[in-house]
Amino acid sequence: MNEDLLKKVRKIEIKTKRLSRNIFSGQYHSAFKGRGMAFSEVREYNYGDEIRSIDWNVTARFNHPYVKIFEEERELTVLLLIDVSGSTFFGTNGSLKSEVITEIAAVLSFSAIQNNDKVGVIFFSDRVEKYIPPKKGSAHILRIIRELITYKQSDTKTDFATAFKFMNNVIKKRCTCFLITDGFGKFDESLQITTRKHDFSTIIIRDNHENTIPDLGLIRIHDNELGKDIWIDSSDKKLLNEFTQFRKRQDEDLKQKFNRLGIDNIMVYTGEDYIRALMNLFEKGGRR
């Protein structure tokens, strides 16, 4: 690992650690717990349960094996679904969207580690690029951050469905899942399935210049995902109008979809203070 990267990791660590300690410490616990924070019950032993989790007292009393589910389900698993598709490689306001995604992911990871929760990461584009299984410990967190930073951006497309399918296959237990993306892509019914299975919330990262484009005359823009180029006349009022209308419609559709499925969602703009937005998200979750 080179010097720069180390510095970056440290910086993110310091920044996000402070944030997570002061502000987010355990917040998503209360926000997303749903169950398992306190011992609630014992249940009958099923085939495949660990023997050591058997509550011998209860078993002796009922003459039938029971297991304590208290211990296992107390700790949460936080899963970060991180969009590394080509479209995140854009940003005009101080940082790229992918950088903001990295930072938010780091903040969430440190927050999780504060609570001794497991953190796992799925990098996806139109396929699952990398999977880091949920684990505990700051070494693991640093690894995740390292991966986040070093992950080589490729000009790939976005396909949410493959990521969801993979996640549904790999993660059997209910977890707290954050989808961090720019929202440029298609969602299908796999979103609904995932939502039912997990505590699901979405953080959408956008750049200001994805809503409007500045007047630069004739410009040639390159689609990171499709690898295609197009010439546009950015001085053309009619074009700009059509563009903003298109974006507005796109965002509205997205929002509607999320709301219908009861998914908490926030939109963060690059260069904006994402902490406030995150707090907002957790408060939303708390209300639910």
Binding site: T88, F90, G217, L218, I219, R220, E225, L239, F243
Partner: protein, 336 residues
């Protein structure tokens, strides 16, 4: 004879430079691929919102500066090939033949065995002859009892024809001085620089006047290398001759007397030919025959004053390049 013609365009000095025009499609191809691969672009997250949106005029005209540049380059290449127009000057030095027609205008030429009479018929045929040989110097000498020059050697044929039409019998003393007529004609023709000199002598009688013997004249003609074609005019036999009487002009049939041996001698001595014309048609044929025999040598020298047209192309190319740069820097400015 000089002829000046200004041609607009006549060719290239270095036409092989035009092969450079192949460069233009190559350049266009290069430009196309460069723009596709190496041209700087702005990376953006999503272009789908821009597809199928309004296309402004600027977008449509985006490649205009390129086209203008290709055109400018084409013009430059054409300028390198040096298109030229030439001010061409054909100097046709036509070695014409000098011809003096010696025409007998004695009273007997009014005889009406030719229609309307011999003189008019001869004039008509001579005029036709003059009209056809417009590259030659032609002169006209008339003789009767004396000889004088009606028209010196000239290429101004309209004037010559006018002067010919004014010829009338009776303007000089009557008689037939063949020797004098021939001598006058020789005098007119001898000093010209033309190689081919010809006298056409028309008469209808016998030499009966004059200071110079016809044979002497033919000797002189021979010395000057002048060909003499002699034409005897008159029907064989009797012909109606006019006679002036107190009661007006009367016609009387008189036997036609032509000194044919003399005329034959003259023509023979000078390398010409004797003809006998008995009516208008035969006269025409005779002149045609002479016309064929006296073919003029045409020597054409050709000058070209070349003028380069490249400058105009250069200026046009320069203007186009300026327009291209202006368009590129202002209206059709591209970023980055």
């Amino acid at each position: 004879m000089k002829e000046r013609r200004m041609k607009m365009f006549s060719g290239f000095e270095y036409p092989y430079f035009l092969f450079l025009l192949i460069l233009i499609p190559l350049l266009a191809l290069y430009q196309y691929f460069f723009e596709k691969t190496a041209y700087p672009t702005i990376r953006y997250s999503q272009i789908s919102p821009f597809e199928n949106t309004h296309k402004s005029l600027k977008i449509r005209l985006r490649n205009l500066p390129n086209y203008i540049r290709y055109l400018a380059i084409a013009l430059l290449i054409i300028a390198i090939a040096r298109p030229q127009s030439y001010l061409s000057r054909d100097e046709k030095n036509i070695e014409g033949v000098d011809i003096v027609i010696a025409l007998d205008i004695s009273g007997s030429m009014l005889a009406q065995d030719f229609k309307p009479n011999r003189l008019e018929a001869a004039k008509k045929v001579a005029t036709n002859f003059m009209q056809e040989r417009h590259n030659d110097n032609i002169g006209l000498v008339v003789f009767a009892g004396e000889a004088f020059t009606q028209c010196p050697l000239t290429t101004d044929h309209p004037m010559l024809m006018e002067l010919t039409s004014k010829v009338e019998s009776g303007i000089i003393q009557d008689g037939t001085a063949i020797g004098d007529g021939l001598a006058t004609a020789i005098n007119r023709i001898k000093d010209t620089k033309t190689k081919s000199k010809t006298i056409i002598l028309l008469t209808d009688g016998v030499n009966n006047m004059g200071a110079i013997d016809p044979l002497t004249s033919s000797e002189i003609a021979k010395d000057y290398k002048i060909r003499v074609y002699t034409i005897g005019i008159g029907k064989i036999g009797m012909a109606p001759y006019p006679f002036q009487t107190p009661f007006g002009t009367q016609y009387q049939n008189v036997e036609v007397k032509i000194d044919e041996p003399l005329l034959k001698d003259i023509s023979k001595a000078t390398g010409g030919k004797y003809f006998r014309s008995t009516d208008e048609n035969s006269l025409k044929t005779i002149f045609k025959e002479i016309d064929n025999m006296e073919k003029s040598i045409i020597d054409v020298s050709y000058y070209q004053i070349k003028k380069d047209l490249a400058f105009g192309f250069l200026v046009a190319a320069l203007l186009l390049l300026i327009i291209e740069v202006l368009l590129k820097k202002t209206i059709l400015r591209t970023n980055p």
